[in-house]
Symmetry: C2
Subunit: 360 residues, 2 copies
């Protein structure tokens, strides 16, 4: 088992990464305030992992409530969040009851928000079961639900006391979901960790084959990268923006086709290629570097060209991204492979040219 | 104008108290992040005060959105909260837009929770317009909405950047609402401020007549008391519990008759008499002290006897109060007039006797 510590002002907490962690309640017990938990999961994840977790905790003397939500991003909304509150209140859960999220990023984000707001805040533990949630959404304390007028518009910053990333859970994950997480893993290499990128290039096949050792390393190294960025910049003023590499272009793809048409990871991959292409046009990357970006995404089975929405439409959609303040278009570019930079003043003509060069 | 500073770990903020504050946008401007605000108010308060506030801000160059909610505690719920999010998103309010609550505690609690969670937190200003909200709910950073299974069950701790208590707004306040606030004002005297209690005894008629000088002093002194308690104990472990004088008994009255049957302030007054009676039975107060407690509430037009629910029912309801952890009955008693204490081990027989002595 590996441990990554997230060093945050208010409270540091550990991420444990390894195999068979679900069946080890002793990893959880030290983080409970009282021997009572409410596990929040969904209809897909519950049959796979819930019993294992409940049995371990029950044997260890912990009183367990389970709340099983419908599956899917469409249910990351208030009515579903309210099912969590209904369950907590019906079983009279107290301020000292710990909420445990068991599932992907949707369950993690919703349960985290429920923990942040139930009786104004209760203890929270994350057990992420998708690659994306293990390497991205469970680190950094962002929680949220969607509003019909915008994704993740209602939420809170709320840190868990513990994250348990059990690599074994990834064995049942559909390939498309594995790739979605991989896009974010690769991103860490591009923005700040060249040695990790090189390791990924050498070990991509092992990851795609879900080799536990390779997965453990990839998750650990991703968490280290995200934790460092978040600890340096908890309030998202500077460095944390680097995590948005490929995301502003990607947002335009997702919004332009209607959310859900493309997987987020697919949009991020194609968006990252656009960012690389733009970086080359601005003289920061070589064209061989852009090829290198394309190649790793292609090998991972991720798309490297965007849909042909027209460059103007892309830019219009990019301007409406939540991350844009006062209409200023802030892009993450690559100064070189392994080093992202924030650019606030890229000429529109170059952005358009890069988009046009990367659309099917 | 008087200023009370709330000294909190994360951020201190001022409470300004005085007349004609609504018409002074210069009090607000220094606390805005960008010249854009969204004012949240309700159908009763909007016709009284909204135009004055909007005109001042608009003249000062601030872009203003207004969101007008239905009135009443029954609307302190998710669907109404969602009207705030709808309004913010429809007008594309950004993370830098300041939310202003203009109204009583219901508007303040809901707007504060919206500010805590819209895009994971936006700047927040309180303009409380009831006595209760000026002396109690706008100080301390508690925000919340109700759930069908419990009051204030979903919320956050979130501090405003500024509180503006314009005493003039109290002129239109119905008498019943003035008295509700007065119950909390008197409470501060009993738990920690004997000189203030004496001042209240001498100036109660001026307050009931809404004399601005008397009201300004009462609001200021109340805010000082609450701010000190909150600053000493932000996370509600110890001293802050003193603020619940009369509230555990009062909760039983409110819950026993169905919420809304009695005004909260009425229940607190009758509950405080019970707490005083119990304190006397335990040898801490003289019976003349209990008479003193009764007398000030009577003069304020507040009830001093509770409904006859039966002592057992009272105790059962008291056990279900949110503030009770693990079934332990924690009561606030009076060691003497002007000094509250927390009691975790009061004999049940004495509690029953005190209740029986104070029911109609
Ligand atoms: N909080 C953050 O910082 C952050 C960062 C990135 C993304 N997110 C959010 O994360 C969400 C996406 O997360 P996600 O990609 O994990 O999606 P998800 O939670 O919807 O999971 C994807 C699918 O896999 C299923 N699943 C989960 N674990 C499984 C397993 N072990 N085996 C088989 N199936 C399994 C899920 O039920 C779901 O159907 C989005 O809502 C996004 O906004 C949050
Ligand atoms: N956050 C806290 O720490 C805290 C503390 C105590 C109470 N509260 C909450 O506060 C709420 C009660 O607040 P409240 O007593 O102000 O009730 P309220 O907000 O419902 O106001 C009472 C009534 O007076 C009206 N009103 C407001 N200002 C007026 C004015 N100037 N003139 C005429 N009418 C006016 C309101 O529209 C309403 O009809 C409850 O929901 C309670 O849970 C919160
Ligand atoms: Zn992403
Ligand atoms: Zn009260």
């Amino acid at each position: 088992m590996r441990t990554v510590n997230v060093a945050l002002a208010e409270r540091a907490y550990p991420i444990r990464i390894g195999q068979s962690l679900l069946a080890k309640p002793e990893l959880i017990l030290p983080y409970l305030k009282t021997p009572r938990v409410a596990i929040v999961t969904n209809e897909v994840v519950a049959p796979l992992f819930l019993i294992r977790l409940v049995e371990g905790l029950t044997d260890a003397g912990v009183a367990v409530e389970s709340i099983i939500l419908p599956d899917g991003e469409v249910h990351k909304d208030w009515p579903t969040l309210n099912l969590i509150f209904d369950g907590l209140l019906a079983s009279r859960c107290e301020r000292s009851t710990t909420l445990i999220a068991l599932g992907g990023g949707v369950i993690g984000d919703m349960t985290g928000f429920a923990a942040a707001t139930y009786q104004r805040g209760v203890p929270f533990i994350q057990i992420p079961t998708t690659l994306l949630s293990q390497v991205d959404s469970s680190v950094g304390g962002k929680t949220a639900i969607n509003h019909p007028l915008g994704k993740n518009m209602i939420g809170a910053f709320y840190q868990p006391r513990l994250v348990l990333a059990d690599i074994d859970t990834l064995q049942t994950l559909p390939d498309a979901e594995l790739k979605a997480g991989l896009a974010e893993v690769i991103k860490y290499g591009f923005i700040r960790d060249l040695p990790f990128l090189e390791w990924l290039e050498a070990n991509l096949d092992a990851i795609l084959a879900k080799d536990p050792t390779a997965l453990t390393f990839a998750v650990e190294r991703s968490c280290i990268n995200k934790a460092e960025v978040v600890a340096n910049d908890e309030t998202e003023q500077g460095e944390r923006a680097l995590l948005n590499l490929g995301h502003t272009f990607g947002h335009a793809i997702e919004a332009g086709l209607g959310f859900g048409a493309w997987l987020h990871g697919d949009a991020v991959a194609a968006g990252t290629v656009m960012a690389a292409e733009l970086s080359a046009r601005l003289g920061m990357l070589q064209s061989s570097d852009v090829d290198r970006v394309r190649r790793i995404f292609e090998r991972a089975g991720l798309p490297v060209v965007g849909p042909r929405l027209g460059a103007e439409r892309y830019i219009e959609l990019m301007r409406h991204d939540k991350k844009v303040e006062a209409g200023r278009l802030r892009l993450i570019l690559l100064k070189e492979i392994g080093q992202g930079i924030i650019s606030d003043a890229t000429p529109l003509a170059d952005i358009e040219a890069a988009i046009n060069a990367c659309c099917a």
